[in-house]
């Protein structure tokens, strides 16, 4: 790849950088802000975020969404996925976004079932 083939805008064109190097620093600042938000939320643990949504705290949902956002920018800008052809993007990303949620679905459903079985008292847990 030669110089100047990089796509330099992030946030769907909201911010456009002048050079690839500048974009790297911009993405670093963005990733740092997201990480600082995560750590601050993890330390403060605001009460209003401890409500449950689909058997998980809202706070945990926020952590997972922020993580996926970070993963997107690491892959797209640090690994230069933004500059690749859409067929390469799809052949890398699609297997992951199909297989991982599938695995998560099966294992978590099963774990919840095992928890229920133990909770219903077939196993004396605390002795």
């Amino acid at each position: 790849m030669s110089v100047g083939e990089h796509k330099l805008e992030i946030f769907r064109g909201l911010i456009k950088f002048k050079s690839n190097e500048q974009k790297i620093w911009g993405v670093l600042i963005f990733l740092s802000i997201v990480t600082i938000i995560e750590v601050a939320l993890g330390i403060i643990k605001p009460d209003f975020l401890s409500a449950y949504f689909m058997r998980m705290k809202l706070l945990n949902w926020i952590f997972i969404i922020l993580t996926i956002i970070k993963a997107y920018y690491i892959t797209w800008d640090f690994m230069h996925m933004r500059d690749e052809t859409s067929s390469l993007k799809n052949s890398v990303v699609l297997p992951l976004v199909i297989l991982i949620p599938y695995l998560v679905f099966i294992l978590f459903l099963e774990a919840d079932y095992i928890f229920d079985v133990m909770f219903e008292g077939f196993v004396s847990w605390n002795f």
Binding site: M1, S2, V3, N20, E21, I24, W25, L28, L31, S32, T35, E38, V39, G42, I43, S50, N60, F63, I64, L66, T67, K70, A71, I74, T75, D77, F78, M79, H80, E84, T85, S87, L88, S91, V92, P95, L96, L99, I100, L103, V104, L107, F108, E110, A111, D112, I114, F115, M118, F119, S124, W125, N126, F127
Partner: protein
Amino acid sequence: MAVSVSKSYEEVNVWEGGDQKPLNSGYGKLMMWFFIVSDALTFSGFLVSYGFSRFKYIDSWPIADEVFTHFPFLHGVDAPMYYVALMTFILIFSSVTMVLAVDAGHHMNKSKTAFYMFLTIIGGAVFVGSQAWEWKNFIKGEYGAVETRGGQILQFLSAEDKKRVSLSDFAIGIPSERSTQEKSDGIWFQTEKSLPKFSIEEVKEGFKANSDILIRIQKIDESGNKIILNRDESLRKIDSAILVVEGANLVRNEYGNPLFADFFFFITGFHGFHVFSGVVLNIIIFFNIIIGTYERRGHYDMVEKVGLYWHFVDLVWVFVFTFFYLV
């Protein structure tokens, strides 16, 4: 692509059948992407099985904030998360120096590429060292606990401020003949791990003598805190204790469910091994840059390939950080 001085191995030998490159990408880079896909599935297998165990024991899983509380040079200060946050920043920063090295490579700037590669290696080494320190604290433990017949961990708290107290704060010394069995004491193959600082009888006696100490069990109440027993319940509970547990290993740990320590060792260990391999690869590439291999080859694609691997390691850490420390 700039005019090549000499064609690389892959240009000559690998993609045959014309100028059209599959997916418009180099051979090595494409294979690195597919390796990353398979490695990502491996790591997601680990993390999802961690999630499986966690949902299975959702009402008694250890709380990470109470386990990882150390920070260098701050002894006894309760600092959850700050250290892993620092480690995350170190790794993200080494990712940035790596992408700067790739960028300098595109500009055929040898000295700049070598400099950023060097910084990346330093960042990776600091990260692996930090992880070793984290392991050391985890293995050594801090307060100690006892284990019951049913394999449950009981931890001790002071009744006034509900803060953890360590076994050495209340255990009573009982004169005892029991000492660690050394190889020199008997037959050469008979040996054992070093004994805990206190025997279970010493802990029990100390607990009964100190009326201001309570027991905390692993179960979590509705608000997400571990249940603390009152003094009467605690006195009844301590009778079922059979073992003193200090620190963590693969069989039992003082933080709670043994699976927590198993997954911690396995997932962070596997990730740390990836970082270590990445540092080794980076060093090889670094010396190749120094001796001018890529300058002669006419492109710095190798830096880009090893860069992909390095960013992937960073990417995995982002997920490990979330699922082990935040969630």
